[in-house]
């Protein structure tokens, strides 16, 4: 099956996020009031083949831990959806 995976990589809550702080300040400067916090992370979209959903999730988790996120400073969350069944030849 073909899956579409969305991987959200965000700075850990305890890690200072200079980009988020700068964006928040920018919003305030533009007059957008009430923005208490902005956290800036990465959004990755992967398309992958996998026999089933559980296998796909396990592989994505391995990818996230190995490369996509740095556990010292980042958390990640994965969402996947099946986009189509592979048609048998």
């Amino acid at each position: 099956m073909t899956f579409r995976a969305e991987v959200f990589v965000t700075p850990k809550a305890v890690v200072n996020d200079p980009q988020g702080l700068t964006i928040r300040q920018g919003l305030r400067s533009l007059g957008f009031e009430g923005v208490q916090e902005v956290r800036a992370g990465k959004y990755l979209v992967l398309t992958l083949e996998s026999p089933d959903r559980d296998t796909a999730l396990a592989r994505l988790d391995d990818m996230a831990r190995t490369l996509l996120a740095n556990a010292v400073i980042e958390d990640y969350r994965i969402e996947i959806t099946a986009v189509r069944e592979t048609v048998a030849p």
């Binding site: 700075p11 200079p18 996509l68 400073i73």
Partner: protein, 231 residues
């Protein structure tokens, strides 16, 4: 002594390192391609600064999986001297050869300027020629040099004497104003527990001749050399 200078796609300080080691210090050195897998011919290896693999995803995140990095890990495990400068420091952290991480500078700006470093530990293989508390003037050139480690790791770095350098004023005071990037506790460089792996954001290789504005980087390279000669 023979030095290996690692070159990844996007490394840019390799030639500065070569010049400092060979022309200035009279050492033997060779560039090491990122696809090489053996470092046993060298007495010390340097991971120079730059933007390996375009800094994509995170600085050093892709470089740490280059074939040569397994050799670097073996080299470090055997006690060989490993010096990571700037992007090299980031790669060593991604490879877990050094703890912590380097975040975006708190200013969100690329900072390219001369800074002062206070030598926190003068008995390490990379600082043995220095006096404790000596202040070195060395340039930085980075956008992601904001040292971070969780509280337990920070405490263990401090207690183990693994903080090599802190950003300071010219007279050695560690202040917020002297901190160019937001690094926790003004940390500019750390060594591993064994002391044979140093990572630092400032560029000692760019401060090896008065013509370039200063020669304080020689304190670090000569210390490493002294360690090798004594071994």
């Amino acid at each position: 002594m023979k030095w290996g200078i690692l070159v990844f796609p996007g490394t840019w300080s390799d030639r500065d390192c070569m010049h400092a080691l060979t022309t200035v210090l009279g050492q033997s050195a060779r560039y090491v391609d990122h696809r090489e897998t053996e470092l046993s011919e060298f007495d010390a290896v340097i991971l120079p600064g730059g933007f390996s693999y375009g800094d994509h995803l995170r600085c050093g995140a892709v470089a740490r999986f280059a074939p040569v990095m397994e050799a670097v890990t073996r080299f470090a495990d055997r006690g060989g001297l490993v010096l990571g400068i700037c992007n090299g420091f980031q790669i060593l952290q991604e490879a877990r050869l050094l703890p912590g991480a380097l975040l975006r500078n708190d200013s969100c700006e690329f900072r390219c300027e001369w800074v002062h470093l206070r030598v926190e530990r003068a008995e390490s293989p990379f600082t043995r020629e220095c006096r404790p508390g000596q202040v070195l003037r060395i340039p930085i050139s980075h956008g992601e040099g904001n040292f971070y480690a969780d509280p337990d790791t920070l405490q263990s770095l401090e207690q183990g004497g693994q903080v090599a350098f802190r950003y300071s004023t010219p007279d050695g005071r560690v202040t917020g104003d002297a901190n160019p990037n937001g690094s926790l506790r003004n940390i500019a460089g750390i060594v591993n527990a064994r002391g044979n792996v140093l990572g630092m954001m400032p560029h000692p290789e760019r401060a090896c001749e008065p013509l370039l504005g200063g020669a304080d980087g020689l304190w670090i390279l000569r210390s490493a050399l002294g360690t090798l000669v004594a071994a």
